[in-house]
């Protein structure tokens, strides 16, 4: 088990070992960066075609299957098209800011991967304030979106940028709040310690992931909803609502700059999915004790792909939300629910000391009710924001 599991770490040390000592930290850091960019760049290419194929299959049609076997060379074709397309900059655009916007968006997103633990001791940096670093990086993308929207000097992109910022700000609050219970019960902000806290196994051999607790399940759902909104995807893709505002803040971008925006949207999705896996799905731990022989990074990749499939599945199903529904949903439903979720985690932690054998199911039912009831009341109150049923009058 240790051989295959540590294969990457081992080769990393071996390669670093070839160099003189004083330059080794630099080399190993450069190696990690190179591997991360290669893996997630390739993952971006693969996901862009797999997503279109899955969407197709869910809409009774094939996905792209012309370029290469089963359409797998489609990202290559897209890439060449993106690179060879003329890079048009509008005449009245704010040249420098227009040029800097895609950089300002994609550079921080790459940084966010430094903190995620991809396997047993396979995380680039082990910060003891890892999650704060992740959210600090995540919040920098709003400024870049504004730069893109403002510098294109056209109404559609400004409207798209304003919508994107309003959406990202109002969904960053539930995103952060839904991680608070995990931090509270893991007792640390460092992602490695959070994964370690989920490493033990119960009697039946089932792993103690956060998702197997009521507050963890609610937290994961809240986190995923906020994550789709944070990365401007599927039901919340108002900023680039093709139907009404062309491509939102991406309207005036073409060629490689558009590819950079496209790349950073997917990288944002990968980073958030990686965080969801680390926080709620036990990072690189196996679900059962007897499955521990499988290498740890394989578990991380499996859960990662499962969540990506879930995002694509949601994208294939749900229609786009209006702006007022979107903001109502966040402020009147997600934020209160995530605050209540913190209280539920407290109840779960407090009731952890019960000794009776039937304690676990009772605790589960109790905490689940603590979450379900407010969920129901909030949903009822949210129903209040729906427009009154329309009265149709027909000619007699």
């Amino acid at each position: 088990m240790n051989g295959l599991d540590q294969i990457f770490v081992g080769t990393g040390h071996w390669i670093a070992g070839l160099f003189p000592v004083y330059v080794q930290p630099l080399i190993s850091a450069a190696l990690e960066i190179a591997i991360m960019m290669a893996v997630f760049g390739g993952c971006f290419a693969l996901t862009s075609v797999v997503e279109r194929k899955l969407l197709g299959r869910m809409q009774n049609r094939y996905g792209p299957n012309r370029v290469g076997p089963f359409g797998l060379l489609q990202p290559l074709a897209d890439g060449i098209k993106m690179l060879t397309k003329e890079d048009i900059v509008p005449f009245s655009a704010d040249k420098t800011v227009h040029f800097l916007a895609p950089l300002a968006l994609s550079v921080p997103i790459w940084l966010a991967f430094a903190v995620l633990p991809f396997g047993r001791n396979m995380s680039a940096i082990d910060l003891d304030a890892g999650i704060l670093f992740f959210f600090a990086i995540g919040s920098a993308s709003e400024l870049a979106v504004f730069m893109a929207g403002w510098s294109s000097q056209n109404k559609y992109s400004l409207v798209g940028a304003m919508r994107a910022i309003a959406q990202m700000i109002s969904y960053e609050v539930p995103l952060v709040l839904s991680t608070v219970p995990v931090l509270m019960l893991a007792g640390s902000l460092s992602l490695n310690e959070i994964v370690a806290a989920q490493g033990t196994y119960t009697l039946g051999g089932l792993a103690r992931w956060n998702v197997f607790t009521p507050w963890g399940l609610a937290g994961l759902l809240l986190f995923l909803i906020a994550a789709t909104a944070e990365s401007n995807r599927s039901p919340f893709d108002l900023p680039e609502g093709e139907s009404e505002i062309i491509a939102g803040f991406l309207t005036e971008y073409s060629g490689f700059k558009y590819a950079l925006f496209f790349l950073s949207e997917y990288l944002g999705l990968f980073a958030i999915t990686g965080l969801a896996v680390t926080l709620f799905l036990g990072g690189w731990h196996a679900p059962f004790r007897w499955l521990e022989w499988v290498p740890s990074w394989l578990w991380f990749a499996g859960k990662f792909c499962a969540l990506i499939f879930l995002f694509v599945w949601i994208r294939a199903t749900l229609p786009r939300l209006r702006l007022d529904q979107l903001l109502n949903f966040s402020w009147r439903f997600l934020v209160p629910l995530s605050l209540i979720n913190i209280l539920v985690a407290v109840a779960w932690y407090w009731s952890g000391s019960w000794k009776s054998p039937v304690a676990l199911p009772v605790r589960w039912v109790l905490c689940a009710a603590l979450v379900a009831l407010p969920y129901h009341w909030l949903a009822q109150s949210l129903r209040g924001t729906l427009p009154p049923p329309r009265k149709y009058t027909y000619a007699e």
Partner: protein, 197 residues
């Protein structure tokens, strides 16, 4: 339950996804160049001229009566009458078109020319791969390009072709009978000579 709508939707797309691998109804795409849809009988794209017998031009049914040219809404048919006459299927001498052009870039596949044609000379084709490189002459089809045999017409529109052929055979027999009767009549006593010179 409050999230029920979302869950129902998700189950439906999941069923689509799973079904697309084994259930025909859930994957209805036809890969066009490789697979083609069976043509529907009453589909129509652009008109073509029907001819009987072996050679195309002498066998054309068209008698250059120009009704279709007048009736065509976008006016995309140009006909020039020929001076030489030729017998039609019942032997009656009929005109024939020297020039019969249709501008298929203008034709809107309405089929009015087929309805107004008294001689069943023009019918609707079902071929749609008509793209050419030459934008001007390429889309103006002349008489020889438009002429197609009657059995091609039978293959395309079976029921209509069958009726027409039946009707034509009857007319032909009636005309021959009449001709025979007229030929037979002088075999009987000749018509009484006019009473007084």
């Amino acid at each position: 339950m409050d999230g029920a709508g979302i869950i129902k939707g998700m189950i439906e797309t999941a069923r689509n996804f799973a079904g697309s691998y084994h259930d025909e109804a859930r994957l209805t795409t036809v890969q066009y160049p490789e697979e083609k849809l069976a043509p529907v009988e009453n589909a129509r794209t652009i008109p073509f001229l029907v001819y009987d017998g072996a050679e195309a031009l002498p066998g054309l049914r068209c008698t250059a009566c120009m009704i279709c040219e007048k009736e065509c809404p976008p006016q995309c048919i140009y006909i020039v009458k020929d001076t030489v006459k030729k017998p039609d299927f019942v032997g009656k001498m009929q005109m024939q078109p020297k020039v019969f052009d249709i501008d298929i870039s203008v034709c809107m596949s309405c089929g009015i020319c087929v309805e107004v044609c008294p001689f069943d000379a023009i019918k609707m084709d079902q071929v749609f791969e008509l793209s050419t490189g030459d934008r001007f002459g390429g889309l103006l089809l002349n008489k020889t390009q438009l002429a197609k045999p009657n059995d091609y017409f039978n293959k395309l529109h079976k029921t209509e072709a069958a009726e027409i052929d039946l009707r034509r055979v009857e007319e032909k027999q009636k005309a021959e009978a009449a001709a025979a009767a007229k030929a037979a009549a002088p075999a009987k006593p000749p018509m009484a000579p006019p009473p007084a010179p």
